[in-house]
């Protein structure tokens, strides 16, 4: 698998080159070239901001289609807790879970259940690794990817425990193998995801060689399919739910941190806020914190770009749903052991470096500074880059030119036309001289 696989893509037929997305991308990964958006995949963290902003729906996320279910003899749905916040008047989570079975899954395994196991493992890890404080959550793959390309100093602070969905897949398959006697490869564990970042993480996990997740469906695609089934089962749903308060809470900001039962934490959401927090942690401006929960989306996973409900309403709904649940229903009784931990350390990927060596980079940044002086500083985006500075960097990277800036181009044309008229004058002068010559004959 390509180490920079992305699930956010462009549908170029729909793209109008309107530059809305280049302005919103937090890692400046998008440019408009020849009237179409282009994503530099090394810079893209799959946060989905461009999907949110594109007025023409040209930015899309890839995920699996429902017919994937046919590929396996036995299938298990892994619903993220944020799914429950999507429905109006839902009183019992079992209704959603039963509806998933009706729509074609053989079983369901709540990601929230596995999340409680992760909470338990995290509590232990945090206690034993004081030297790594503040420990940073790794549940949001966009954040992990961001840290990997931009915050090398923070890599050692990452919580080296697999995301709840990965653990859910392991546990669900183990259960299914026992119950059905089928071999692992005939069982499909399919995640119902709130975002493209988790689609990417399932295909190309960070911190792990391989994920047990066999496919990912988008919440917004499953939602309309589930509704009629939910009506059917709502009278007497089968008891399938396995998560308590802690597990459900993971669906919105602060839920993961809350499950650690400590006070000394910070929880931030929204990618811009996340970046600011990471900058400040890197500069050691926060000290004495035990844990930092970061979610790329506003409101946490309920705000994922593949969800349908307003994240703040979804958050309220989750709160209501968990009200009468026990604190946690899952403990480490089934040993998850080594499978729960990262088996492949995350490495820094310096994708933003400008040159091969420090000398070369110094020269290039000096050139960037020089170029910036020539641009008007309007950050208008007409050149296809989000800011004048980004254009200057593109020029030194060799992928753009000065005259991509319409202001520079205008000056250039102005000068050219001046030069031309000078030339004209001069030539006119020459002709006159000649005439004089002839006159004097």
């Amino acid at each position: 698998m390509d180490k920079f696989f992305n699930s956010v893509r462009l549908n170029s037929d729909l793209c109008k080159g309107c530059i809305n997305c280049i302005k919103r991308c937090p890692t400046e990964a998008i440019r408009v070239r020849n009237g179409k958006a282009v994503i530099t995949k090394e810079f893209c963290i799959d946060c989905g901001e461009c999907i949110r902003i594109c007025p023409h729906h040209a930015k899309v996320a890839i995920y699996d289609q429902l017919d994937l279910l046919k590929k396996y003899e036995y299938t298990i749905a892994l619903p993220a807790p944020s799914l429950y916040g999507q429905f109006h008047n839902l009183e019992d989570i079992n209704i959603v879970l039963c509806a998933l079975k009706r729509m074609g899954f053989d079983d369901v395994y709540e990601v929230g259940g596995a999340a409680e196991v992760v909470s338990e493992l995290s509590r232990d890890y945090i206690k034993k690794h004081r030297e790594k404080w503040p420990i940073i959550s790794t549940a949001c793959p966009s954040v992990v990817r961001l840290i990997r390309v931009r915050f090398p100093n923070l890599i050692e602070h990452l919580l080296p425990i697999r995301a709840p969905v990965d653990i859910a897949a392991v546990l669900a398959k183990r259960k299914a193998m026992k119950e059905t006697g089928l071999p692992k490869d005939r069982i499909g564990a399919i995640f119902i995801s709130p975002c493209p970042a988790k689609v990417t993480a399932a295909k190309n996990p960070l911190g792990n060689q391989r994920s047990e997740i066999d496919g990912t469906f988008a919440m917004k695609e499953i939602y309309p399919v589930l509704l009629p089934y939910m009506k059917e089962v709502c009278k007497q749903p089968e008891e399938l739910a396995i998560s308590g308060k802690i597990g459900i809470s993971w669906g919105s900001t602060g839920g993961e941190a809350g499950g650690l039962l400590i006070d000394n934490y910070l929880a931030a959401d929204g990618i811009e806020n996340v970046i600011n927090v990471l900058e400040d942690i890197e500069d050691q401006k926060f000290e004495h914190l035990e844990f930092i929960e970061l979610n790329a989306c506003n409101g946490g996973c309920v705000g994922g770009v593949l969800t349908v409900e307003n994240p703040y309403l979804a958050k309220v709904k989750l709160k209501r749903l968990r009200k009468y649940l026990p604190v946690a229903c899952n403990h480490l009784e089934q040993p998850v052991g080594k499978e729960a931990l990262w088996d492949k350390p995350i490495e820094f990927e310096p994708v933003f470096e400008l040159g091969e060596s420090i000398e070369e980079s110094i020269a290039k940044i000096a050139k960037v500074e020089e170029l910036i002086e020539k641009f008007p500083g309007l950050d208008c985006g007409c050149c296809g880059a989000p800011t004048c500075k980004a254009l200057a960097e593109d020029i030194v990277r060799g992928v753009a030119k000065e005259t991509d800036c319409i202001h520079v181009l205008r000056q250039y044309i102005h000068k050219l036309s001046n030069d031309l008229s000078m030339l004209d004058l001069n030539q006119g002068g020459l002709k006159n001289e000649n005439r004089k010559g002839t006159d004097s004959e």
């Binding site: 931009r150 100093n153 890197e282 310096p350 060596s357 000398e359 110094i362 940044i365 000096a366």
Partner: protein, 140 residues
């Protein structure tokens, strides 16, 4: 030819919301250069402390950053009141910051000690009533 990058920053007076912009910019550039992340972090912390100091004590000033392949030199100059007792100012926890600034969480007396801790060399030229020039070097 040895490449050198010179950067100039103007630090405006008492504007806490903007304090830190210069050090962030330097941090970003050093990352783009592929400088060792540990070095980047030291520069960012030392320079941020310096920037904040200039805002708290001297109503702003100028910072010049000179980068070559072996070191990063930061020269912070202000026209502030000067530091009467440098040895004292270097003590952890010693602060002359006014109360209104301490309530903001600054002025914990870690400025100069941190600048010293995170740089390889620190030189202070100060004249009472004239200003202070701090030169810090972090080696690559």
């Amino acid at each position: 030819m040895s490449e050198v990058l010179r950067l100039q920053y103007h630090i405006s007076n008492s504007d806490f919301t903007r304090a830190g912009e210069a050090s962030s910019d330097v941090k970003r550039k050093l990352k783009q250069m592929g400088v060792d992340p540990k070095v980047v972090r030291r520069v960012a912390i030392a320079m941020y402390e310096g920037e904040i100091n200039m805002v708290i004590h001297a109503e702003g000033g100028q910072i010049e950053v000179i980068i070559n392949k072996s070191e990063i030199k930061m020269i912070l100059s202000d026209n502030g009141p000067g530091i009467p007792d440098i040895d004292k100012a270097m003590e952890e926890g010693y602060s002359t910051a006014p109360d209104n600034i301490r309530t903001l969480g600054f002025g914990a007396g870690m400025g100069l000690p941190n600048m010293k801790k995170y740089s390889d060399s620190l030189k202070i030229d100060t004249k009472i009533g004239v200003g202070t020039k701090v030169t810090m070097v972090v080696k690559m």
